[in-house]
Symmetry: C2
Subunit: 206 residues, 2 copies
């Protein structure tokens, strides 16, 4: 298969979300690229190109079978199974993520919370006890966790990096403002909230 462009990967997920949201609403068995594109805010031609990575899904004049398309997207993305995710950082942002119902609806469960702040270790958030970040390696091995969310203070990043390096995780969603140096084998997606808001400022200012 051709290498899938990064933005396509993100959009595939949005198509899935859109179909998932509508699963309980009565409607046509098929959806055309114009309508699906309108719902997710993507131009139909781009949407058709994105979905072509799944194989031949669309039928001329009918569009996509909603059920089959959703199933194919779920399999492609990996949403046909549940995922246990670890979170490092039990601050305000971390707490919001733990309580974010949409993750659970998609089968993404943040059940393992880690901190290196002794004041936070042992506390309960969303039904789970905050653990010492020093226990990260053991928990990740035992539970075969592949994804870690980093939402710590910047000052803790060095410590967190050294803990993460000892594990065999596959991917990190880095919500801190620091870069994580974990080598080339681990997928890192960085999302700096300040950068998002900053780029809005920049656009207004132009």
């Amino acid at each position: 298969m051709d290498k899938i462009p990064e933005p396509t990967i993100e959009r595939l997920f949005c198509y899935y979300r859109c179909l998932e949201k509508e699963k309980n609403s009565l409607g046509q068995s098929h959806i055309c690229s114009n309508l699906l594109g309108e719902k997710v805010g993507i131009k139909p031609a781009l949407l058709r190109r994105d979905l072509s990575f799944l194989g031949h899904m669309g039928q001329k004049g009918k569009g996509y079978n909603r059920f089959l398309l959703k199933k194919a997207l779920a399999q492609f993305i990996g949403l046909d199974q549940g995922w246990e995710i670890a979170l490092i950082g039990a601050g305000n942002l971390g707490k919001a993520l733990i309580k974010y119902d949409k993750f659970k609806e998609m089968g993404l469960f943040i059940k393992n919370i880690f901190e290196n702040d002794l004041n936070k270790i042992g506390r309960e958030i969303g039904g789970y006890i905050v653990q010492n970040v020093k226990d990260l390696k053991e928990t990740i091995e035992n539970k075969e966790i592949k994804i870690v969310i980093v939402a710590t203070d910047d000052k803790d990043i060095k410590d967190v990096t050294s803990q993460l390096k000892q594990t065999n995780i596959r991917a990190v969603w880095n919500l801190s403002s620091e870069n994580l140096d974990l080598g080339d084998d681990i997928i890192i997606i960085k999302e700096d909230l300040c950068c998002s808001l900053g780029s809005i400022l920049c656009k207004i200012n132009k």
Copy 2:
């Protein structure tokens, strides 16, 4: 000036952040593109191209003057002034954003919080009283607010959209999973947390 590419705008902000973080540390007056690039995780050639949008900032053999570069970036982005921002949605995510110190450090102040959940209106979060979303227009006009963050439940999006349409805001940072239909004059940056985590899954699964 040439139109600035979207990713450049986001990176310009990251360069600013990096210089801002180091302002109190002793060091050289200048920084070369290799070092600044390493700190922000951007290749030096790309960094130099990004910074070329600010005019001729770099000196051959010396690099960029940290103070002047930071000042130029702040002016370019609009961080040489404070910004009052409105937030719609006082749920877990909204609360985390209100308490997010990094916004304040950058002069971005979330002082106006709105809800249409009667149970939340009137409560205090981070020193500010949650207002009725029906008062959005008046507050935005009185305080000349240009940026609104939307972090509401999806079910409230229609109501929020109609409230936002009555205002003369310039930009929205949409953290809900719904699209906002506000016409072409308002800058909308959508950031769906589920899409970020979903694209990580997709990458692991490939």
